[in-house]
């Protein structure tokens, strides 16, 4: 009996010792020397693995960041949109570098072809996939650039930041958006754009990407951009460009003066989170914004909710 136990212990012990020696040498031979900073950077990252930075996963981003810091001594072109400036500062601190502050971005839906604005002409009862429907037909409302409302963007979001509004049939982005860009890639029509979050969340953008001439565009949707160029002419900052019967507001040049919103004949230009304007503006809209933001800020949220037709798809 004792012999058996002894024999078992001996063989197992010997086997263990031999394998341990082999493993030790193998481990030495194939040792991967890794910068310990990679682990530190990875710990600082949000670990959402969303791909918003352009790299597959947070670990890979950490590797690229450390590599860039070691080789180029800067972090140019590297940004974690989910963590924002706070995380990037932390990362920079670990690597002993400085990082520029970046304006936070947010996803913006550039279509307002709601069920009321672009009434359905046909009904679609096929597979609930925008990518499929985009290839199949122009859309229930008839606009070949507009939102199909089947929710590929909602499926793509890892942050619970985009939902369908059943009343309008359009997606709505909420505050949880971290601008990872997943929905931008998921939308087969390229409706979603990442835009500047703006001061106090105030944003102005053209909520339409219809490149058709005014007539056909307006036929399908009452709030389409008809390419009339009125906003282009009125903009004092040259922030608006016209191409393919469509206006586009460059958010880096836009100073949020709201002049374009006033002149737009089809209400295609949207303003978000602004205080309600006075019935008769004696002074420029820009001044109102600069002078009296604090007084009206509290009212703004309540009022913006009342601006239903304009705001309900984004707020």
């Amino acid at each position: 009996m004792n012999d058996i136990v002894l024999f078992a212990l001996l063989t197992m012990g010997l086997l263990g010792a031999t394998l341990a020696v082999i493993l030790y040498f193998v481990a030495q031979k194939f040792k991967v020397i890794e910068d310990p900073k990679i682990d530190l950077v990875e710990d600082a990252l949000p670990k959402a693995n969303c791909g918003g930075c352009g790299y597959p996963g947070c670990r890979n981003f950490a590797e690229v960041t450390v590599k860039s810091a070691n080789e180029k001594q800067n972090l140019e072109g590297l940004n974690c949109p989910v963590g924002g400036n706070a995380v990037m500062k932390q990362v920079a601190a670990i690597l002993g570098l400085e990082v520029e502050e970046k304006e936070p971005l947010i996803a913006v839906i550039r279509c307002n072809g709601s069920k009321a604005n672009s009434p359905a002409k046909v009904q679609f009862d096929g597979a609930s996939s925008c990518a499929f429907a985009h290839n199949l037909f122009a859309g229930e409302g008839g606009c070949q650039f507009g939102c199909l409302g089947l929710g590929d963007c909602v499926d793509s979001c890892d942050f619970d930041a985009i939902h369908m509004n059943p009343e309008t049939g359009l997606p709505v982005v909420n505050d949880k958006c971290v601008a990872c860009g997943a929905c931008v890639k998921a939308c087969p029509r390229g409706i979603i754009e990442l835009r500047n979050k703006g001061k106090k969340d105030r944003r102005i953008f053209v909520s339409c990407i219809n490149k058709e001439k005014g007539g056909p565009a307006k036929k399908n949707c009452s709030v389409a951009c008809i390419g009339c160029s009125k906003c282009f002419q009125v903009c004092p900052y040259e922030a608006i460009t016209m191409a393919n019967n469509l206006a586009y507001i460059d958010f880096e040049k836009c100073k949020l003066c709201r002049k374009c919103v006033e002149v737009c004949p089809t209400d295609a230009i949207h303003e978000l989170n602004f205080p309600l304007r006075k019935v008769k503006a004696e002074t420029g809209a820009q001044e109102i914004q600069e002078e009296k933001p604090s007084k009206v800020a509290a009212v703004a949220t309540a009022e913006s909710a009342s601006q239903e037709t304009k705001n309900d798809n984004i707020v």
Binding site: G126, S129, N135, E212
Partner: protein, 444 residues
Amino acid sequence: MNSLKTFAPGGVHPEENKFSENTPISSLPLPKQLVIPLGQNLGAPPKPMVKKGDEVKTGQLIAKGEAFISANIHAPASGKVAKIDDALDSSGYRRQAIFIDVIDDIWEENIDQTPDIVREITLTKEEIVSRVKECGIVGLGGATFPSHVKLMIPDGKKAEYLLINGVECEPYLTSDHRLMLERGEEILIGIKILMKALSVDKAIIGIENNKPNAIQHLTELSKNYVGVTVQALKVKYPQGGEKQLIKAAVNREVPSGKLPIEVGCVVSNVGTAFAVYEAVQKNKPLIERVVTVTGKGLSNPSNFLVRVGTPISDLLNAAGGLPENTGKLINGGPMMGKSISSPDIPIVKGSSGILVMPVEESRRKKPNPCIRCSKCTEVCPMGLEPYFLSKLSKLELFEKAEKNNIMDCIECGSCQFTCPSSLPLLDFLRLGKLRVGQLIRTRK
């Protein structure tokens, strides 16, 4: 008659509903304006050769196909070019089209308009191919693949059989059936022309057994044409598919991802054979075709010979007007056709039929979970696993879908037709094919 030839595996047998099979082909009066979309063929759309205000004659070239896979378009009627602008196509997208205000019907001088049958084939092989190309002939079975490309056999390959598709396996449609009955002689001459162009000595016309009069008629006529035989086939959808017809008629299987020429076959539709006859013997370009207008609610389902560019609403009016309970308008047959968003869109070269469906039939049933009954696998004529492929495509596992041969899917819809859970199998298969196609193209 002993057991009839057909393809295996798979296939379904939907209700035939061939209401218009006894209605002779009739012509329609010309509309006031023709809208001719440029993208009518598979491949690159041709470039317009006319501009606004130009006077055109019937049969005049108005758009030239410059790419290798492209087809010319000719004026379907004489008149004035009103504009070249975007027009709605069948999917509701706006695509470039030529608008012609019709004034009379003055034909180009070199087109033979007489009904006399020209039997003697005088053109050489090369001349036939170039004539087919000039006349803008495309496959009229529905895929609209430019015919001259099919006639140019790649080096190192040899065609043995010319298969003529008179199957018309789609329910409701009868345009090919009527054409075979009324223009049988012309079709056979067209087949002889195609045989000469391909240098083959055997041609088989495949016809499903639900058209006994067409089988009899063409068998009778084919006695005068050496090498042409008629093969009766069992009624089974999708026998009109290229690969299925080859399997049914000559029992050969086209390898995955390859063309029929790989097994020595070239497949053409009876409509195409007729168009080739008109092009080669009469110098008449492809400007009109036979379209079946049918449906359960329609008062007189008919077969019309219409010019390309005629609005579908004209055809519907001639067939007794749109019934009140219309739920869906389909361009093509019920299995593979695409529903259209408006009756104002024009007839194109590939329109074989217009189907009007009542509301109660046009709605899809609510999809239920897959019960793993494997019916879709049983009916798939390509031997694929539709439930699996559609799931892969839904989960965006496109590489895996490619490995499981999603690109072999012919989009016949048998799987979705047979699914007891009413799953949108074909929708996801189409999406998967689209994405896998993009993947393959980016790899190149």
